[in-house]
Symmetry: C2
Subunit: 398 residues, 2 copies
């Protein structure tokens, strides 16, 4: 059987570049930048006043002058003034250009102003005191944000500053999420005794929304011919199909057979893990199929463990899940499988601790609500000890 | 001067409940639940088959029977079958109702089936083997998700399962974000020598979007009369005004005076911190005003440190920022102020490390791109040592 490590490798080897699109800069958070963002001028673009006060010539100060006649006010957003008499001063505001013939600013807190004269109570000043020098932060042409950066609020301000009102980002795959299973009814329906409502597809929609993918959903009955026709159409129209259910050993688990009939190459079926073992993965040319088992916890963990990194790599993020947590109590799991243990996370003094929240198995979706993450316990061990560190797949942001 | 701790206390004491609204369950991620979500039936709602195989009576097995004639197939989504002869079996699929007169399922892997007879190679079976018993996870009426939960993808599946196609969530405040400063031009404009483009308001829009608040933006010139008229209108229409700029000691820093003229009560002005010291906070009846200093890093850190927790408390999340990181090198900061040090975060073995990324001061917005978070260094100390643990304000999710 395919190990978790092998499965992930196969999946990452099948990452696909979906190209580039241009979006409004304000709609780009969570997307992956596909161009270098370059300084269109020096940062700051001029010698900028960084405290409210008076701008003077340090030469005058060093000559012993401590009382400066105010010639005018240099406001932010006004053209640069010129200090006419270098033994005078100009009041200068934060964000303004430093007036010509001045090189330092003395803040109001250190002044007394009376009858148009500013008096300074200082013995010495520093070079360019309270002046943010032109080009100090970055020079024109510097790369401010490199391509393949995951965009956060911090980048938004830089886009605005350099005048990028639209930016190039990785295009998203077109994804269809498909539930199967005759036992499923709509959310708004009242199930009969032998039925349950559809839920996995909505969980998947929501998990993909975290990646900024707007997926579509549909449902198919457990009928081989109808599956063939419908999936055949979808695989032409979408880049990725995500299935939930019908991949195990049941009499109506038609998905692997139907996909094979449609020429989708199986890259693996069944992974040495719990939950989520019956996972099927394949491709047809540049179309990718993730067929997850139908149990809610299986679908959930497989999406985090496999679809997420596949997507990160596809959009150009260098992927490596470095998130780890410290197991906070001993745990025993015998089967020779990688076990995705549901855990509650707690932070303490810069350390992340994982406490097992053992549910009633992969069908117990309410347990997902009580936990925050999955702790990945490797298959080559059965006894896991308080204090040991393992990888985590977290699904909460708070 | 107000300390950081006092400022936060004052802000949290002015949290406001904006009520409740009903949204489509699929649009609820990141919102705060405002009703208990209750199991509408037992979970699972029936004795559910959890492996594909044959359903038999354990009594027959215990009498020594190992070959079972197959009476039929119990599919998921079909009404419950009845095993007519309790020494026979019914093939039963994952997700199906357990047939009447059976109590265990033996999976296909342990069977050989020939000529309609399933032979079992087992010495013993467990009670209710491969059966997920009705009500084992939760009972009808159990609270599955309590009110005031921050909704993630995990909750979405539960909403669907219990048939909640719309759910009650905390209503968001109506927020207007206002830039001031005559030096500012639009993102699509080319600034003249003394100008720069607007950026803070867009950073704030994006920071508020992380809280699922869709804020609006506007700009006002540094003109006292025009500010009076415009702010007067906005304070009637919006729950919260966020300003960026014009709160310091400059000649054109009219915001505190104008707010005071409009009857907005100042709750504090200036906080013992760097950056972001000139922060002004006030209220008028149930309207709240956050007036942040205009430097990009100041605005950014103040939004994370003050607006975020104010919002968490307003929507009913029990707020306590437990996020901490371990300083990875010695750092010295002399002034008697809380210092929000920009840091890069790295995870290692379940520990979170913070490495200083010292920029060129609060106007250096490109430095936000190079960092991930702010480390909050307290004001009662100047020497901070490698290995010490401090609170962080992180702004990246990856």
């Amino acid at each position: 059987m395919t190990t978790v490590k092998e499965a992930l490798e196969i999946i990452l080897n099948n990452a696909i570049n979906f190209g580039v699109e241009e979006v409004d800069f304000l709609n780009s958070v969570g997307r992956v930048l596909k161009e270098d963002i370059v300084a269109d001028c020096d940062f700051p673009p001029f010698n900028r006043v960084s405290m409210d006060g008076i701008a003077i010539s340090s030469e005058a100060f060093n000559k012993g002058i401590r009382a400066f006649k105010i010639e005018g006010i240099q406001a932010a957003g006004s053209q640069q003034l010129i200090l006419q008499n270098t033994e005078n001063c100009i009041e200068a505001m934060t964000g303004a250009m430093l007036p010509n013939n001045t090189d330092i600013v003395i803040q109001y807190e250190l002044l007394t102003i009376e009858n148009g004269i500013a008096r300074v109570n200082l013995d010495e000043v520093k070079n360019f005191q309270n002046v943010h020098l032109k080009g100090l932060d970055r020079k024109v042409g510097d790369i401010l944000i490199p391509t393949n950066t995951l965009i956060s609020s911090a980048e938004i301000g830089v886009f605005a500053t350099v005048g990028k009102s639209t930016i190039k980002v990785a295009k998203q795959p077109k994804v269809m999420i498909i539930s199967t299973g005759n036992e499923l009814v709509e959310v708004s329906d009242t199930p009969e005794e032998h039925q349950i409502r559809r839920s996995n597809v909505f969980t998947l929609v929501s998990l993909l929304e975290r990646l900024n993918i707007k997926a579509e959903v549909t449902h198919m009955a457990d009928d081989k011919n109808s599956l063939l026709t419908k999936i055949s159409a979808l695989i032409n129209e979408y880049d990725v199909l995500l299935f939930s259910g019908a991949v195990s050993k049941g009499k109506f688990d038609f998905i692997p057979e139907v996909l094979s009939n449609l020429g989708v190459e199986k890259l693996f079926h069944q992974v040495k893990q719990r939950p989520g073992k019956p996972f099927w993965f394949g491709k047809k040319e540049n179309k990718i199929v993730f067929a997850f088992p139908g149990n809610p916890v299986s679908t959930f963990v497989n999406c985090l463990k496999y679809f997420y990194p596949w997507h990160y790599k596809s959009v150009g993020l260098s992927f490596e899940n470095k998130n780890q947590a410290i197991l906070s109590e001993d745990y025993y799991f015998k089967p020779d499988l990688t076990y995705f243990l549901q855990v509650k996370l707690t932070q303490k003094e810069g350390k992340l601790f994982a406490t097992p929240i053992t549910g009633k198995g992969s069908a117990d979706l309410t347990n997902l609500v009580d936990a925050d993450a999955f702790l990945e316990l490797p298959d080559d061990c059965s006894n896991f000890t308080n204090g040991e560190v393992f990888s985590i797949l977290s699904y909460r942001s708070f």
